[in-house]
Symmetry: C2
Subunit: 188 residues, 2 copies
DNA sequence: CCAAACGTTAAAAAGTTTCTTAACATATTA
DNA sequence: TAATATGTTAAGAAACTTTTTAACGTTTGG
């Protein structure tokens, strides 16, 4: 039978994976992804495509948790449904290109940030304009309105830049500007 | 006495500010900043420097909440202590340059992400190497270890790129690569 | 066509975070 | 030095989120 170390090796191997999965979960937590969703992503990243039941067994959690977790990850565009030939169960696969992950995750948020804020600024500035143009308003209030208007106007520059950044990322142009370092030797 | 619209104007003005503050809070929420911390930042952004008591009054919350909220924002490097001459109370000021905000906020997180994950990968790969080199381990396990090793090795490329991105942002080089659009006329 | 499998939704429970009140330590000024 | 102001810490309460158990509808295979 041989392979006397298999049991220990299995344990070490799982432990090694765990270290990285935890680490991924911890860092995703920085961006507001819950720990369990992060763990789920990390696990799928290392284990390849999985069914809900496989996830449940691996993480020791309930199936509905897996279902909602996967759904949340799908919303972030970092997990997709797949089909495993001949299998009845649905499988899911994690985005395994971190550059794509970065792109999907952040551009979605930045796009939203720019859109939401530019919209509010428009609305607010419309109100402020009325105040500024109203002759029955005291100079003090007018000035305060002017100042707020100006601050908002100023911030638009940022949101426009953010949209540019998003575009550069979505087109992949960002990787011309900031090149990806060539991979080095696999010194196993 | 004149300025017959002042009362209404005050209300409109506050409402206009509120719209933008809410919007800022909502979008900061996307990155894992709590709603109240976001509101605090937004308020300080529009109102200028404030004392804890001014914040408390403005947001209708307790002073300890303001204290911890400000502290959290300081951790993100987007709020700083200031001194208001002649005043005893400490004042705080929000980073009012959103480009600086972006820089401070994201580079901190990306730096941490790269550091934490590269460290775990190193640790995990060390374990995996032992398995791969152990002749008492079955080929199946070895292969699995190899595969995990390879995935991890591969992901290092991303973290290195992230560090490059951080550097480009910290040095401001990013704004040569993706220029900030010149501001346009203030068409009040 | 029936029985089992699968995934999701709903409601309840558990856990976590945020907020407030109260107490405390430090600094200021009268 | 005493009294007050200021900011923080600690403990408890409230609110919110996550997780689980249970139930439901749909699909699939015998």
């Amino acid at each position: 039978m041989g392979y006397s170390s298999d049991e220990k090796a299995r344990e070490s191997l799982d432990h090694a994976k765990e270290i990285v999965v935890d680490s991924i979960a911890e860092t995703m937590d920085l961006y507001g992804v819950t720990r369990s969703a992060g763990t789920l992503y990390g696990t799928m990243y290392l284990e390849g495509d999985m069914t809900l039941d496989e996830m449940r067994e691996k993480l020791g959690m309930s199936k509905p948790s897996m279902s909602t977790g996967v759904k949340k990850l799908q919303e972030f565009n970092v997990v997709k449904k797949t089909f495993r030939k001949g299998k009845r169960k649905q499988t899911y696969v994690a985005e395994h290109d971190f550059f794509q992950f970065f792109s999907n995750f952040f551009t979605q948020k930045w796009e939203r940030e720019a859109k939401v804020n530019l919209h509010s600024i428009k609305e607010a500035q419309h109100i402020l304009s009325s105040i500024i143009q109203d002759d029955n308003v005291s100079p003090e209030l007018k000035e305060e309105a002017q100042e707020a208007y100006h601050i908002m106007e100023n911030s638009k520059t940022y949101y426009k830049w953010l949209n540019k950044l998003v575009e550069k990322i979505e087109t992949g142009e960002i990787f011309d500007l900031i090149p990806i370092d060539p991979e080095q030797e696999d010194k196993t």
